[in-house]
Subunit: 153 residues, 2 copies
């Protein structure tokens, strides 16, 4: 079983943390894990949220100004997390805000190819409001993502 | 969103690595991640494998000596990983070999309550031979486990 490579440390260098607007324990713990890792291993940390914008059932009643308001809110949530990470002394933190169809698809098809993380960090209860697919995003990404995924509880 | 606890580091202290008999890339990387973590944070590392023994379709044709042979093989696999971890300088490594019904259930209902890990580490392609449930164990545990789970790729 053991090859010689088994002796090499495995350290993640680009970590992507998914955040939603909700304030739950697992999101908090995911943030703490991601920032601990970033601090201890000098990691580049991306903090991402996704605004789903093509669900006609949700957005047909929204005016452009309401949509802009929602967009600003998602940006603010990500910015708050980034600020907090910077207050912890992290130097390499990037805010990422995406819009698109289904959250899973946006993360798999846009965010991961563009940010190129080697580890995705998500809270076990992280859900995206208005997501067409209900339930926590972490276990689904753990199955489908092409990179390592940690689901934090 | 931010509470004052957000500033606290989150470090895992008891890490459980699942291994199977197969020699695949994701298992190797899972081992490397688990041992890196164990070394850098002085973690207690459990290395576990499960032998499913109640699947009548598989075992009805096996003699007691064949079953013992299989049991010895699983023990040997775990022991090899433990030895390798100790060669990396880790002091707190425990070999865990379980038998029982379905692998997921054994891990969720026996291994986790007894070892009490705060993080489960598994390779994305880690499967258990003869498991009644096909496919990789990691994403399923990421969904069902009561503790954090990292699926390593």
């Amino acid at each position: 079983m053991p090859s010689s490579k088994m002796n090499d440390p495995l350290v993640y260098r680009r970590v992507l943390l998914t955040v939603d607007e909700d304030d739950n324990t697992s999101s908090e713990r995911a943030f703490r894990y991601a920032t601990t890792l970033a601090r201890d291993y000098d990691v580049t940390l991306g903090i991402v949220s996704v605004m789903e914008n093509d669900d006609i059932n949700i957005f047909d009643s929204l005016t452009p100004s309401k949509i802009q308001e929602k967009r600003d809110h998602v940006k603010q949530v990500v910015q708050d997390y980034v600020k907090l990470a910077e207050q912890l002394g992290l130097k390499k933190v990037e805010a990422l805000v995406y819009e698109g169809g289904d959250v899973d698809d946006v993360i798999l098809e846009k965010v991961i190819p563009e940010f190129e993380p080697d580890l995705l960090v998500t809270g076990a209860d992280t859900e995206f409001a208005h997501s067409k697919i209900s339930g926590a995003i972490g276990p689904r990404l753990a199955k489908k993502a092409p990179v390592s995924v940690i689901v934090v509880r």
